[in-house]
Amino acid sequence: MREIHTDSIVSAVENLFIDANINLSQGVFDALSQAIEKEESPVGKEVIRELINNANIAKAERMPICQDTGLAVTFVEVGQDVHVVGGGLAEAIAEGVRRAYKNGYLRKSCCDPFSRKNTGDNTPPIIHTHIVPGDRIKIVALPKGGGSENYGEVRMLVPSQGKEGVKAFVLDMVTKGGPNPCPPIIVGVGIGGNFETSALLSKEALMVPIDQRNPDPATAAFELEMLDAINRTGIGPQGYGGTMTALDVHIKMLPCHIASLPAAVNIQCHAHRIKEVVI
């Protein structure tokens, strides 16, 4: 049994959220650089140029890439041979988030659903925990903005709708969002499981690196088929028209009930902020 003190979790989470919000990961930066070449619209190219300049300025000036520094989403893999000491794991993550949003000058975007009163410190964070073999803790920070999150949905499709039904659903969500989720977007698609699992799968799909295909060849082909269809909508960067509406589409799939075909879409903006650490 390995002991991990909550102090190291607090500081790891603080560093992760500041880093994620300020330094665009290399994979996303490279995808944007390639998107300039692929984009056919001059306005679209100009927009992507602004996004690349923005990433460089954010890094140099230590400013958030986007002012919407998101709800603090975390995926935590806890090794079953780990013993967390010094307090609770969830409270340590919340404290890390609290410090990151204060010390990193990040915007606090968390409020009561009805009164809209801000919680003041961007807590509570969203924490998804998995127990895994080993004696380490892996934490992924995925600060997620509201503009893109607003175009997510779960639909319980009828099995006969099949792949075409899922594709039509994804295109419907992308079209409905249009310019609002800040294209070029990344699309996470969760298929199967049940109602809540499909939603979680769609978010986990966003954590797959850009250009990395699903290991199953048929699913990989379906990802590319949907990416092509999305990039034919004409929405383009910022919705000003163009051929680069999405940087990638990722699918995560699980078996489901014989009566069901759950599907979920979670859209991520071009400011795809994600960082991870292993303690």
Binding site: N53, N54, M63, P64, Q67, G234, G241
Partner: protein, 183 residues
Amino acid sequence: MEIKRIQTPLDDSAIEKLKAGEKVFLNGFIFTARDSAHKRFFEALDKGEELPFDMRNQIIYYCGPSPAPPGKVIGSCGPTTSGRMDAYAPRLIALGLKGMIGKGKRSQAVKDSLKQHKAVYFGATGGAGALLAKCIVSSEIVAYEDLGPEGVVKLGVKDLPLFVINDMYGNDLYEAGIGKYRR
């Protein structure tokens, strides 16, 4: 791309020259206001009270910046989705508001107001908050400080990069752009 420089306050002749799809560099002053500030504008108007600033010939930026780090004028400050302010915009345009900056589509009622009163809707690039912050040279809270990032702030801007989305002639960059590149 060719870039046109424009200066606030905007009068009718400046608006007449702007066409959807153009990139402009904006100079002068703009006012931030988003959801809660608009709600308060309307409460003030309904009570017959003065607004925190005179709308005539001015521009509103739909923006709630991140906090300014020490030594900086402002934090990251990209646009928020404009559609949520559609219910408010026509009345403010009728009061003389000449421009709005945000991201995302506007309602037909807003587009009709742009035509009727000669005004324009600009897009700032969503998620380019650090780039846009570099163009802010001054920041002064004007009203509703209690709203935090939703307060009304007067921003001095230098070469703020914007695209004209809806002009006073009924042109719409979103519709034209998507029509051109849909396959």
